[in-house]
Symmetry: C2
Subunit: 149 residues, 2 copies
DNA sequence: TAGGAGATTAGAATAGTTCTAAACTTAGAT
DNA sequence: ATCTAAGTTTAGAACTATTCTAATCTCCTA
């Protein structure tokens, strides 16, 4: 069972990433990066705020939004919106990719672009520049024998 | 140049459709159906409201929302949400289909399911039930010689 | 150790939609 | 024609997610 944390970064590394992206590495920003770049999985602003409140005595919701927007502008985070929710979802996977939505849990999974083939035969008026694809269905963990539940 | 109206219905036919779907055909509902089922193309609630105000002396925004939700529940209309806008968009095309978004104009086009082939090679944990696909790009009208602009 | 740019903050504002509770309309039984 | 009950419409309040505003705070540079 591998850990679900994608990539753990030290505070140093986060500071460097921020500075490299032209963003002043303040306490609040470093903390939020720790969460959104290392721990979280498709969090909403609300989830980031909740987490930040636990890990930083005092932080305002406005700062959470400001920071998330700053990170998006700096190219460290992607902003996503899906039909099943009105909340913006943040994704630190900066590769172009698609998503799978588990209908039961509402949980999102990244799907590599290479795992899906899309071919569209459209009238030539339609000049395709990109696809937004949300696959929805059922995520069934522990399918293999000896699943650990 | 064929008219863009998809299917024109008489007031009678609309009343029948409503009754058939178990919805009382009130004046407001018939009027709104006239617009969303016959005239409009992917309207928002706001657009429906604007149109309704012009064609019916007095109608409240609440009624517009109530009616649209009633039509969705009755299976006469689909509710769509896309990442480029926070507004719900209504679609009277009840076939399963995809959409094309013209980046410049923000205009949406229905894309028949058969015009697009999607094949996903995912781990078997992912049991696919459906795809939400938004193709985005450039809609270039008048590509053929003799375009009428 | 003062100046100033930039960051943070609380709370107001905004947008889109839903809720509430009262008034109105309608359908059906008489 | 009349009554009643159920269903519809309405204005405005409420709600949710997010952005804005303007004051305060921080901290780099000189």
């Amino acid at each position: 069972m591998k850990p679900s944390k994608k990539h753990c970064l030290t505070q140093q590394e986060i500071e460097e990433q921020l500075r490299g992206a032209g963003v002043q590495p303040t306490l609040q920003r470093i903390l939020i990066c720790q969460f959104v770049l290392c721990e979280a999985d498709h969090p909403t602003a609300e989830e980031v705020h909740l987490w930040a409140e636990k890990n930083l005595a005092k932080i305002s919701l406005a700062t959470v939004y400001n920071t998330l927007n700053t990170l998006v502008d700096a190219g460290l985070l992607k902003e996503l919106k899906f039909p099943h929710s009105d909340k913006v979802i943040y994704d630190d996977n900066m590769e172009e990719h698609y998503h799978f939505l588990d209908r039961k849990s509402g949980k999102l999974f990244d799907i590599a672009k290479g795992d899906v083939k899309i071919s569209a035969q459209l009238a030539k008026q339609f000049q395709i520049q990109g696809f937004d694809l949300l696959i929805n269905g059922n995520y069934q963990r522990d399918l293999k024998k000896g699943g650990s539940l």
